[in-house]
Amino acid sequence: MNRLLIANRGEIALRIIRAARDLGIETVAVHSEADAGAAHVRLADVAVPIGPSPVGKSYLRSDTIVQAAVDAGADAVHPGYGFLSERASFARACEEAGLTFVGPDADTIDTMGDKVAARVAAAKAGVPTVPGSDAAIADTDEAAAVATELGYPVMLKAAGGGGGRGIRVVGDERELRRDFPMASGEAGKAFGDPRMYVERFVRRARHVEVQVLGDGDNVVHLFERECSLQRRRQKVVEEALSPGISDDTRAAMTTAAADLARSVGYRSAGTVEFLVDNDTGEFFFIEMNTRIQVEHPVTEWLCGVDLVAEQLRIAAGERLRIAQDDIAPRGAAIEFRVTAEDPANNFFPSPGPIERLQLPAGPWVRVDTWLEAGGEVTPFYDALLAKVVVWGADRAEAVARSRRVLDELVVEGIVTVLPMLTAILAEEWFSSADFHTGTLEQWLETNPLAGGERA
């Protein structure tokens, strides 16, 4: 691998360029019109414009991006997260153009991207799955019969959905009969597949995910991330290790994740997501993400492994360099997602010019960001501005340091969720890790935040 095209933007494009440069690989950035002056364009060796600002005309144009890679003399493509990262058709288009796709092969993306096929693969590998329908269902009567057997409440999930989209919970048969046809119709429109998956709904659940690395034969896990603090199924604060599971659960869950990845011959970095019943400690496979994830830095800090560099080495044909016994979790790492949304105004997006910026620094702080003073947050892309990641010798130290670190961060010109993140840090339920996937939304309902600061 000599020259890598990064098919992404923002902080993850910078992150990937840096890993490539560490390995002596040349980099090719792509950019929309709005991103012509972006940091990732300047940091890369070569930059190629790929179209107008809306994502449908630039970052989602598989054909344009593959052609840009060929024209720029790249021999590999890293998709980052979001955009084309989990589209098997993009991985195939890269391979057909003679480019190495940095990720698992297209067939693995197909299998793991289909909830039903992924669940079958998990069951085959002996990994516990959420009790639910064996197949995706498009018929209301069939869904009702399955739900009665499972017991209410149940969750309806679009077979073709992802990222928390196309999910709803129903409390009884009347609600199911009312909502199922609607949900199925919406899924058909949104994802081109009207089939729904019906499964048991755990009332107090944690979302815990295991990081894996595979080279096609060997697989290691790099322990888990706790991702329960979510708003509208979007993660807000993540940490590693999970403070909410027992050592027995951890051992069983990490082994199960590695077993699943091994059983499908997984090659690249991947994440196996589990739902943990906070009351019983039972865990169930939800899905596997075949990309590098936003929150990967907490794992990197916990384990001392550069996951993006390992992805690149594996894609270049190297064998895994690390054995399971070499991977030991050390201390605790917490990530805060700083987004351009107004927590006092129903998280309405807040594009605008960055007038002043002061990033935190000092011991045990890492900030992955594309922000620059004088830069502009445009309306075209997601609201993630910066990931502030903090390490401590134990969780209490990491939490205490996080207060210092978030106090140092200043973003003026736009509204951000920083006041919410600071407020979370002051909560007893956060310092004692007494939370589940519903905690943050319940807390936001009863604790309206003061207006953000628009300087």
Binding site: P52, P54, G56, K189, P349, P379, F380, D382
Partner: protein
């Protein structure tokens, strides 16, 4: 016959239809109510509905699907019949 412009309240990407497979929210000559949605503006992956603003007859869109619009930019015209 007063023609009123519908303004985009925010910067973003303009859409005439709720999703790629659906018909546009409104068509020329159609009667609209003040609160009827005539278009969407996407800002940072959030979709913001823009209402007609007045009761009347829909005249035309002023921008194409997926065009980039600025805050306060006219995106459509409604005739309020006065």
């Amino acid at each position: 016959m007063a023609q009123r412009e519908v303004l985009s309240p925010i910067p973003g990407t303009f859409y005439r239809r709720p999703d790629p497979d659906s018909d546009p929210f409104v068509s020329e000559g159609q009667t609209v109510g003040a609160t009827d949605t005539v278009c969407l503006i996407e800002v940072m992956k959030n979709f913001h509905s823009v209402p007609a603003g007045v009761d009347g007859t829909f005249v035309e869109f002023l921008v194409e699907d997926e065009d980039v619009v600025g805050p306060g930019q006219p995106v459509a015209v409604v005739d309020d019949g006065s």
